[in-house]
């Protein structure tokens, strides 16, 4: 298996640098929230504080004005775009090294992010890092005295392998590790209309894989499903034995 550093290098050139280059164009195409994400955010209790890990242009920051979101992304260019959404906060951070105390937050959303990590170990670590910042579920010994509803919840959303009716047409049995082109059309005075293609790395999740990854990372899936070419799951931290 490749070393941690070379996996990071791979992601730098095939994910982060691409997003930096396509940031304004990408942002102009991303404005409509996914219904599952909207439902999750609107279901949080007033005053909830949590994270949007891999916030992109910050399109989820406007969904629920009664919560406080610390949004982060690896791409400084996208963070600058996301920053306009007050009263939230946007920072540049890595999803494997989040700058938040363990057990401190009410929720985490991670929408279309984990599938950009290039090994199963790193995807598991990203999920574990998100679970770690959530307020824990009580262990069996403590469950009588603690309000279970106060446990933090994470919503994780990843691209599905099974999407045979989509433009891409992938389906069960296809290669799960793919490079996906992003075509950027530019109109410049000097060159007229031109096109430039950028490739981004994706790991396409097969049915059940997200739940397995969450389980292995110490989470407990409380709800999961499929929404328009994506798998999603809502998880809490598994109580300690």
């Amino acid at each position: 298996m490749a070393s941690m550093t070379s996996d990071e290098d791979f992601e730098r050139s095939n994910v982060h640098e691409v997003y930096d280059q396509i940031a304004p164009h990408f942002s102009s195409t991303r404005y409509k929230p996914w219904p599952i994400v909207e439902r999750f955010l609107l279901g949080l209790s007033d005053g909830s504080v949590g994270l949007d890990v891999g916030c992109g242009n910050g399109k989820y920051l406007t969904v629920n004005p009664k919560i406080f979101v610390l949004a982060s992304d690896r791409s400084e260019k996208l963070v600058r775009i996301a920053k306009q959404h007050q009263p939230h906060t946007c920072i540049v951070a890595d999803n494997l090294s989040l700058p938040h105390s363990p057990s401190s937050l009410d929720f985490v959303i991670s929408i279309a992010v984990v599938h950009h990590l290039s090994t199963s170990t790193r995807r598991g670590q990203a999920i574990a890092a998100m679970l770690e910042v959530l307020k824990p579920s009580p262990c069996h010994e403590h469950s009588v005295s603690v309000d279970v509803n106060r446990a933090g919840k994470a919503l994780i959303y990843v691209w599905a392998l099974e999407q045979k009716h989509s433009r891409r047409g992938w389906d069960e049995g296809d290669d799960q590790d793919v490079m996906v082109p992003w075509v950027m059309k530019q109109n410049t005075a000097a060159n007229g209309a031109s096109e430039k293609t950028f490739n981004r790395y994706y790991h396409l999740y097969r049915r059940g894989e997200l739940e397995e990854d969450i389980q292995a990372a110490g989470g407990e899936v409380i709800e999961s499903g499929y929404e328009k070419d994506n798998w999603w799951a809502i998880a809490v931290r598994r109580p300690a034995k």
Binding site: G47, P65, K66, T89, P102, E132, C139, G218
Partner: protein, 147 residues
Amino acid sequence: MKILTTSFLTCAVKACKSSPLSFPLHYKDAELEQSDIAYNPRFLINILPRIDWDAVRVTATELGFTVPEEKPELPALDASSSTDTIEPADEKTLRELHTLLLETEVREGKLVCGNCGHEYKIKEGIANFLLPSHLGEFELFPFCFLH
């Protein structure tokens, strides 16, 4: 970077998270700016229970503000009603909290970890927590924190 945010941030280095010295982070060479954010008393009242007041006090004091020793007591709001009646004294406290926690921004400067000394740069209001790769080692904490 808002003062409210500092209450939810710590060092990104794994080994620092178990050290009380890593929270809150400390501002250095901070250039402040007042921004204009819509006043929302209900938001403040709901968020206040989640705020670590000791952390806010440390941060605010370092930036030259004076804040009360104790977290201010605020009235509970009726969640079912859309209009809030707030006493003048509470209104004053809420306005002060709004200015301090939400509208006071650190535009340029650094956030420094009291444990490892790592400095995170703040540029145009955005803090950057990316670590040099040797500090980004992944390690998990045990799971039940109630023991």
